[in-house]
Amino acid sequence: MQIKFLDVSYTYSPKTPYEFNALKDVNLDIKEGSFTGIVGKTGCGKSTLIQHLNGLLIPTSGEVNVDTYVLTTNKKRRTKKLKDLRKKVGVVFQFSENQLFEETILKDVMFGPLNFGAKAEDARKISIECLKKVGIPESYFEKSPFELSGGEKRRVAIAGILAMSPDVLVLDEPTAGLDPTGTKEIMNLFKTINEEGKTVIFVTHDMSLVLEYATNVIVMKDKEIVKEATPAELFIENQEEYNLETPQISLLAKALIDKGLKLDLTKVKDISSLVDEIVKGRAK
């Protein structure tokens, strides 16, 4: 599932007083199997970008190619049936905890696969599997989703998308409102999914998550993509021009280098890799 954006622009409510340009000439190439982080200030167009990935928004100009699907205003070129695309690209939105509605958690997770034509039995099987993956205990399955806490609801919502077994998983701030352990658990889950060969794209404001998990990072500013790089590249440089915070780990590593330690910054991702680097540096 290759994803390509060609000169994509998007304008909300064109030709009204509420006209609002949210994306400007975006060119983008997301490779299959990558773990891509999208970062940038609030209101820079990240969420709009995401909605183009499964055809919720059609670019006002330009073209989005996802696999063989074409999203464009050109009526001859564009793909008519978007439902298949939505099965292949699963999107977990911001505040996804608000999308739950069924009587029981299990039923809610089964909702997606059933919509895409899975048999009830298969849907049930995969739903149970996904719920276990996100760490919802079996005793919860018959509970109402409205009894859950915010974080648990978020997990159920994520399970609901995972159960559709999409090839591309898109997450809009999946860890907002989760506690540190929860964040780690859920990010590790995405990492396993990525290692199974699926493309994962996530939006976040937490740079340490980008450093730790992402293989690629896209920086957006003022409706445009200003940088595409690997996280290590991004944080080694001075990224202040993009108004991004440097992860604590990078700061620590940089401070250690200043003090004379020899570290390879491209390999520092989290605490354990930093420790490894320090050990290696001392061995030299």
Partner: protein, 312 residues
């Protein structure tokens, strides 16, 4: 966000936008009275309705309402029109034969009168919806509640909590766009889970709607709880005396435009009364003339007034 903007205030700066909200509500009521007046024959009805329609569409053009929004606001009406037609065809009524038989199906006579009746109600409904569309698109919700509270003021004599009612109303109006945005967000989320809100059989559509309504209700209740807490935290007291930051002012142009609208309504009333008193061809021509004369005179006054004001 873009798709669901019906009934939302649109911030242009037109003549209608600048009018006092109280004036707009009064004019709305007057025009609605005019729209729903009865006449003895369908010829008069359609001509009077036509004149009113011209006036109302004129208002829509002046207040820069997009044709697309207008059509969208009517989209819910098709079902009702069909229902009206069916009911009118099958319900017997007095003087149905007056206009003759339109066609016969399976030995059942469909009278022109029933079709005219449905058309009449449809036209009136469309006009009414256009009027409310004009009101909501040109008036800020806060100004609307101000007008509403102002009209309720006499009830204060009976210890009626006008402020509480107005506050409830203004909160309701304030949250319409928020809830529309929320609707949009949930629709996006459920569409991503394979729900198709646009196509599909009736049963599928019902299921799709459930997946939208339930989360919407839940979040609305949660939101109201949060709002109540936030208001209490800021010391809101429903019985307290309140002042307003912005007070609409009744100006000369409000008086003139209200006079204009009342004259139109008065014209319709006069035509209707005379029409019910004497029904003849001569009268028919005469009433037309009167109505047109009133219309033209006031259009002239309007043009004169606006140009005159600009020079001064």
């Amino acid at each position: 966000m873009a798709r669901l903007s019906i009934g939302r205030y649109v911030a242009y700066d037109t003549f209608i936008h600048r009018l006092d909200p109280r004036n707009k509500i009064l004019a709305l009521i007057l025009l609605m009275v005019a729209i729903f007046f009865q006449f003895s024959t369908y010829e008069v009805t359609f001509i009077v309705d036509g004149i009113l329609a011209l006036f109302i569409f004129g208002l829509m053009i002046v207040s820069k309402i997009r044709f697309k929004d207008f059509i969208k606001s009517l989209s819910a009406l098709w079902f009702m029109i069909l229902l009206l037609l069916i009911i009118n065809i099958f319900i017997p009524g007095p003087n149905k034969e007056a206009y003759g038989v339109a066609w016969t199906m399976w030995n059942y006579d469909v009278y022109w009168a029933s079709i005219f009746q449905s058309i009449k109600i449809t036209i009136r409904l469309i006009l009414m919806i256009s009027l409310t569309l004009i009101l909501t698109q040109t008036t800020k919700p806060l100004d609307l509640t101000f007008a509403f509270e102002w009209f309720l003021a006499p009830l204060k004599l009976f210890k009626f909590p006008t402020h509480v009612v107005a506050m409830t109303l203004s909160i309701a109006l304030r949250f319409i766009p928020t809830i529309l945005d929320e609707t949009h967000r949930i629709m996006n989320a459920q569409t991503s889970r394979g729900v198709d809100f646009k196509h599909g059989k009736f049963v599928e559509k019902m299921h799709a709607i459930v997946s939208l309504i339930v989360p919407l209700f839940v979040s609305a209740f949660e939101r109201s709880d949060e709002l109540a807490d936030a208001m209490e935290a800021r010391g809101y007291n429903p019985k307290g005396k309140r002042t307003r930051f912005r007070k609409p002012k009744w100006s000369f142009k409000d008086s003139v435009s209200l006079l204009y609208v009342s004259a139109i309504t008065a014209g319709v009333v006069v035509v209707s009364v005379l029409n019910l008193a004497i029904t003849s061809d001569l009268f028919f021509a005469f009433s037309l003339l009167v109505e047109f004369a009133i219309f033209i005179i006031f259009v002239l006054i309007g043009i004169f007034y606006t140009t005159f004001r600009r020079k001064v």
